[in-house]
Symmetry: D2
Subunit: 349 residues, 4 copies
């Protein structure tokens, strides 16, 4: 145990935190040494999550930077927006490796952050230090970094579905529309009528139309890949299921390309990356096919009638869209194989 | 009872047929006089649908045009594609009022029908006679008609969400994308792995991407309303729920219009029609809000950043998308108030 | 309209209240004249329940006995336990017909009420006046009554499944076990982690084992029917669905009876009652077969190996288990046919 | 790889088979060397299960005893009832270790098998050889065995919930009732109307009342533990969810025991066994708390009013009720730690 990397998890009682626990318990190189919750400190974590009975018998620690520094080498922040703003810099300055799963350090512009999140932005100096951990796109930057801002769930599915094309110059950047659908766990464990069972079961709806805070995150990355500003349409919907995101992405091609060429572009872009799987022609992924795993599966169809390309990208929002990608980033930071502790099969059915 | 209109339902053992039974049993002016099934003739309908025990004790009749003519004044065809092709003309020629819920008489071009449905098209002379029963758009044509082709479920949601704009000349007709999501009942009662519970529960997927046979139906109507040919992108997804369709529609405006102007256009277009409800600014409908009812609820958002309009349109696919609209069309055909027998509240939750 | 009975609903913003609205809107003899909510008075009811847009445009009234007396002839209380305790007597004394859907007037013993509900019991004089409205069992008492205590959802399913046997003397009263399962709407619209979507979806659990407050209600009625005290085992479970209760009931027979004899006993007991349907030998009802309707369907199997009888009884908890039975009781109180406004078919699928 | 145990899976395209694949891929001591399907031989397994893309690229082998003997050391049969009857003896005689997940070798009496399964029973000589692999109860017999008959899903949940008491002599053996509820995956991947999504979603029902073939399996084991014949009531229900079984078990005590005594009996019986977790007083397990894992969680409540004990036992039917327990049995057969490859956390939420 002494040779394992010691990990602390702030926000252990949220869904992102508890999934980090599941994944890190399977990780051969990591030991969980502190599970932290500001709201339930002192109670055994299994009190609120009985599935952890006899598996993780620890009591929850309070948030205490000195204690974390003493107990851990790396700290994950799986906290609501606005908490890491203050906390992550302190942890970073204390010499800890920091992986922030919240949105607080993703947007390089404080102004944009404030406009979409309605929170005060983090200190720009720390925002600058934070590496955006979209592992298959910016993995080289993640290697050796000490402070990672983990991508949002919708951006992960949408950006992995768009990155090869955004970098290729083949598409009309003004034409991008992403119609995204998410399972209910994305809304977290906090109670709200929106995700009250009797309201969302046997129901499907759009929410935050043209207002979702993940919009500028996707635009920022697309802009970086394309080398020019991108403004896009992004819509989010809630699906009556617990896990899974599917993003249906529409783009117009600037010039004629065959579907085969585009598929080849994707396969080449993601070559050697274990967690992106490109479907063959005529095959489209379902969210269940990545359920519980770190995969992102992508299919596509070019319509000769319209010249428009439709891309389908799916992830498990709690794994690849949060805790799994965080562990993947940890692997890259530490110089380990990126699939360490993550090479498990989706749970089907 | 003798003064009631006598109705026969062919395909009574499918979901569309059994919903027609539910609705017609509540209709003050109609009596169900024959429930018909080619596969289960002779058996009581309640054997296969125990919820009808002591409510409808009839045995299923075989398909027999003479018998139908004798027993009924109006006949509904709730049959798989390809059945009405042969049967509807015979029923029509026998002097019955005919309402076909299948896709067999919707497309005016036999060539287009064959390309998308992979079936031989119906006799063009009868296709010509069939009035497309999108009640809020072509209601005037339905009045007094004897042969109705009832719209598809996806087209109903999508077209009601687009009709005012398609007729207005305000939008770029090349820009139309409809990203539609349906509950599983749309796939019918026929067994298939796609809708096997353990496969589609806790799952979300796209299917028939760029291949769905409802595409030309939507394009045909949009073209008729716009006065020029329309080609659009249409994507269908399966939601792990039984009933409901939500269509998220994206269009670019040709010139600057305010969201208020557009909402006013919709309210004006649907004025006096009881089953279309336009949501106020910032409000978007959920499928559950029309569950079990004949309503189509529509919300919209104009994004000033992109100039693109997003429209959200929801229906219950089994009611407004099939049996309910068929009854609404019957009401119009007969000169009754169009809400007769349909003025019930959605079931919530 | 002036000839219709005027109805007020207290607790209109709960699931029981909103279902009463749905049902009364379909009732030919009743007009809803006041929808009342202590928490949301002044707001249009459709703000919180958009499915009511353009259907019920009323604003919510505050709880005001004088106003109710002025506006209504009958008042329904669809309130949490403990509210009707004080309110129902005042409404009754004001000359209103009162139908209380809560548990406050069901238990004849204040001591028992307090032990199970952990609330102060209602005034014994009013408890005495309240007629227990299990319509198929005590319908004669309901006729002409002015104050009805509407049965609980679990008791309705369980008691209708047991009443003929309890009254027959055929069973060992010490042997009764009811293993009941309910959809999530039974927990109401109040937020709680138990019915948070991501917690209860894809989950099944038992709760309040040996502690559920409906236990003494069932025992009280069984005791009354049997003519001696009954103590039974009653277990409640939560099913990941919105509506429906299924109660699996086990009893030992005191002497040998054939399954046919027992089925005949049930059919005879419920003869002429439109809402109880007894299944044939080898057939068992599913909750979906009564979904959205006022039916209670019952099946049974006598095991020759053990001599034990298993009874399966299903209802829609929101209809027959609450609002529907309340309307049925109103019909009986008013001397109308008990199915008035309730003769609609279950929604399937 | 050469030092790993080589495993073949017959019936790889069923849910039990595909779950074995998931689990064995995580097992440090086992390599999957042949995935076998009589119906799909020659096709890549990922064609029918796209979640296995790039994870298991093998083509399906046909059923061929010689080939299996060549490629594998142990063979799992995850086949429908009636297949292993003929096949398992041949595999055993060929010198393979055999783990049969079907019901074909569970019942020691061929007559009882035929009465409940309506199939011809297996050769009694081989039935005799087959060790019943309820790991926490008969683990000592499993160690070193070569032919395991893996328990059924319902029996696993029910027997683990009853074994300590059955062996104790404390209960009235005539009083046992198990009211069991299962997710839909238990019905397998074969299409049927019962598990067609639109039929079983938002539905709950009992099936095979007093007829389920797992009844004699439970009785056989209880009888063996108790030292006398046991006849019990066993009811099965279908829950609208994919995975999970909850068995609610009722027994009468023969003499007065405290709930604490009984809980202590259970804790002592399962001491040192990693996969059975006994809940504290007043706590009851939910199926989601063992989802995707090999745990069986048990809670209990003794009702002082009736003297009856209620036991709640939950498992994941696909893991502990099938593939997981099969791997656990393999571990025991091989002399490995029984949790090898199975020590993962339930997936929550």
């Amino acid at each position: 145990m002494s040779t394992k990397l010691r990990a602390a998890i702030i926000g252990s009682t949220g869904y992102g935190g508890v999934e980090l626990i599941r994944l890190l318990l399977m990780h051969p190189n990591v030991a969980i040494t502190s599970v932290i919750s500001s709201s339930s400190a002192g109670a055994p974590i299994a009190d609120g999550y009985p599935h952890l009975n006899q598996i993780l018998t620890d009591k929850l620690d309070a948030v205490d930077v000195d204690l974390i520094r003493e107990k851990a080498d790396v700290v994950f922040l799986a906290t609501p927006h606005g908490v890491a703003t203050e906390l992550a810099p302190k942890l970073y300055d204390a010499g800890l490796k920091v992986i922030d799963i919240s949105g607080d350090f993703r947007l390089k512009s404080g102004e944009v952050y404030e406009a979409w999140y309605k929170h005060k932005p983090a200190d720009a100096a720390y925002v600058e230090k934070a590496v955006y951990g979209l592992a298959e796109v910016f993995g080289e930057e993640v290697k050796g970094a000490s402070f990672i801002s983990n991508p949002g769930c919708y951006p992960t599915a949408t950006l992995l579905g768009l990155a090869p094309l955004a970098a290729s110059g083949w598409i009309d950047l003004k034409s991008i529309i992403a119609d995204a659908k998410s399972g209910v766990s994305g809304a977290g464990r906090g109670l709200s009528l929106l995700v009250h069972y009797a309201e969302i079961n046997e129901n499907f709806l759009a929410y935050k139309v043209n207002k979702h805070q993940h919009t500028p995150e996707i635009e920022q990355v697309l802009g970086r890949l394309a080398g020019e500003d991108v403004v896009m349409t992004f819509t989010t919907h809630l699906v009556p299921m617990t896990r899974g995101i599917l993003s249906t992405i529409y783009v117009n091609l600037k010039e004629t390309r065959s579907e085969d060429d585009i598929r080849e572009l994707y396969r080449s872009y993601y070559e050697g990356r274990p967690f992106v799987r490109i479907r063959d022609k005529g095959k489209y992924p379902a969210t269940k096919e990545v359920w519980g795993s770190n995969y992102c599966d992508i299919g596509m169809s070019l319509d000769p009638r319209t010249g428009r390309l439709t891309i389908i990208s799916v992830i498990d929002n709690v794994v690849k869209g949060a805790a799994g990608q965080a562990v993947q980033n940890l692997n890259l930071m530490m110089g380990w194989d990126e699939a360490t502790g993550l090479a498990f099969t989706p749970v089907y059915p």
